[in-house]
């Protein structure tokens, strides 16, 4: 049996937390992307830069920053710990690492898509009496939805591939925080190449599916 119980558990865990992290960042990412694409505001370029940082910095650097923010010796970490919230060495740590690392990809993709929506259409809707919120959901989002889906897919696959930040913040605990990437690393360290190859195959297939779909969506996006 090629797919043993462990392999299923690792794959399903990675997919589940990856999905959760993408769902978590969607509202924030879409909102921020819209603010970047449509509005000017003080300190906008600073926020733009900060949002892009996890994409450019070494993942372990981001992981270290997260560890210091959420670790038990920090004010936030201590506060959360007293309320029973453990982030470090926990699946919640995996979730946060994935969310932070994939966030910039989502924002970039959605921002580009919003940028390609003709603002004239939004203005026309406004003259017809639509509120800003209605314009957003009835005009802007439907026109940009392929970019949003592509961005979400890209973010999801980035979340699945997360290693550096995850291993620092959540650790590599089999059965509790071990994702596909972490498991491949462990198996190689242990000299268990066959198991590593199985997981390698899974990650290649998943990555191929996601990127191919994402690119297809972006290619077939209508420019109005």
């Amino acid at each position: 049996m090629i797919l043993s119980f462990d392999t299923w558990q690792i794959t399903l865990f990675s997919l589940a937390v990856g999905l959760a992290s993408t769902v978590l960042i969607l509202p924030f990412g879409i909102t921020l992307a819209w603010l970047f694409a449509r509005k000017e505001w003080p300190l906008k370029s600073v926020v733009e830069t900060i949002v892009l940082l996890p994409l450019v910095m070494p993942p372990v650097s981001t992981g270290l920053i997260l560890l210091k923010i959420f670790g038990r010796r920090s004010p936030l970490g201590q506060w959360l710990y007293n309320r029973g919230f453990e982030i470090v060495f926990n699946w919640k740590g995996v979730l946060i690492a994935m969310a932070v690392m994939s966030f910039p990809l989502l924002v970039r993709s959605v921002r580009t898509s919003f940028g390609e929506v003709n603002p004239r259409l939004e203005q026309i809707a406004a003259t017809l009496g639509a509120s800003p919120l209605k314009i957003f959901f009835v005009v802007t989002v439907p026109l940009a939805y392929k970019g949003i889906v592509a961005g979400a897919l890209l973010a999801f696959s980035r979340a699945l591939g997360e290693f550096g930040a995850t291993i620092l913040l959540a650790g590599n605990i089999p059965g509790r925080t071990q994702t596909l990437s972490l498991a491949i690393y462990s198996f190689v360290q242990l000299g268990k190449d066959p198991e590593a190859y199985v997981l390698l195959g899974i990650t290649v297939v998943l990555a191929f599916l996601f990127v191919w779909t994402s690119e297809w969506l972006l290619r077939t996006e209508k420019k109005v």
Partner: protein, 256 residues
């Protein structure tokens, strides 16, 4: 802009040329792959050695299991200094060592540590079962020597099954030390020599030498080494009185 693109092509060509050119390491450079727990003591011994000898020493510290895997995959280590016998045995079985250079050099003691400011009362391994102890850091218990020793000890004490769910496996003994220092775990297992170098942890229990697993650090010259004479010279130095004093100073048990 065009010039920049053209220049980048020639730069890339230069880099590729560098990548494929063989650069022979100088004859007097040896690479020592050694267990992470030996980091500080070997660096000190190396300073003394390099003051007199012609050879340059480069160290590759890490979990002995990871280092052994590297050597299996062809890493150019000249000497392997492991924290347990199984890792050395694996390499010997695969015919990757010079077996007549193999020697048991040191022993050590296992201890349980907690963060220096910890208020938990852990006076014996059984206290690890308390609910206040939520996470215990251990170097990967299936491969890294200190983790293997700790798991064996806990199993022999009949505690492993109950503490297993609390275990956070980390890369090596120094990572174990670091996680206890950070306070993100309540306790961890390291060697007495590692606890000694950190002010941010305190030892709460020393595993008695007669009850704990037998810890042996063997060293050997790697068969594929291209600097056997230099390696032999350093191996001899490791058994010299100067080196033995250094090991004792750091708390290692020197085997004769």
């Amino acid at each position: 802009m065009f010039l920049f693109v053209r220049k980048s092509f020639s730069l890339a060509a230069l880099l590729i040329a560098l990548l494929v050119t063989q650069v022979e390491a100088s004859a007097d450079e040896i690479l020592v792959s050694a267990a992470a727990s030996l980091t500080d003591v070997l660096k000190e011994i190396a300073t003394g050695y390099q003051a007199k000898a012609k050879q340059t020493l480069t160290f590759n510290f890490g979990p002995s299991s990871g280092l052994a895997r590297q050597i299996e995959e062809g890493a150019p280590a000249d000497i392997f200094f492991s924290a347990d016998l199984p890792q050395m045995d694996t390499l010997e079985k695969k015919n990757l060592l010079d077996p007549d250079t193999r020697k048991n050099l040191l022993s050590n003691q296992l201890v349980i540590i907690v963060p220096a400011d910890s208020k938990l009362a852990i006076l014996s391994p059984k206290d690890l079962l308390k609910s206040e102890v939520k996470k215990i850091a251990l170097a990967e218990p299936s491969s890294v020597p200190v983790g293997v020793y700790s798991k064996k000890y806990l199993s022999d004490e009949g505690l492993w099954n109950q503490v297993e769910s609390k275990v956070v496996p980390v890369q090596d003994v120094r990572a174990t030390l670091a996680s206890v220092e950070s306070g993100n775990v309540e306790a961890g297992f390291v060697y007495k020599t590692d606890a000694a170098i950190s002010k941010k942890v305190k030892i709460v229990y020393e595993v008695p030498v007669d009850k704990g697993p037998k810890i042996t650090y063997p060293a050997a010259i790697v068969k594929e080494s291209k600097h056997k004479d230099a390696a032999r010279d350093f191996m001899n130095y490791l058994q010299s009185p100067t080196a033995k004093d250094a090991f004792k100073k750091y708390g290692f048990v020197v085997l004769d």
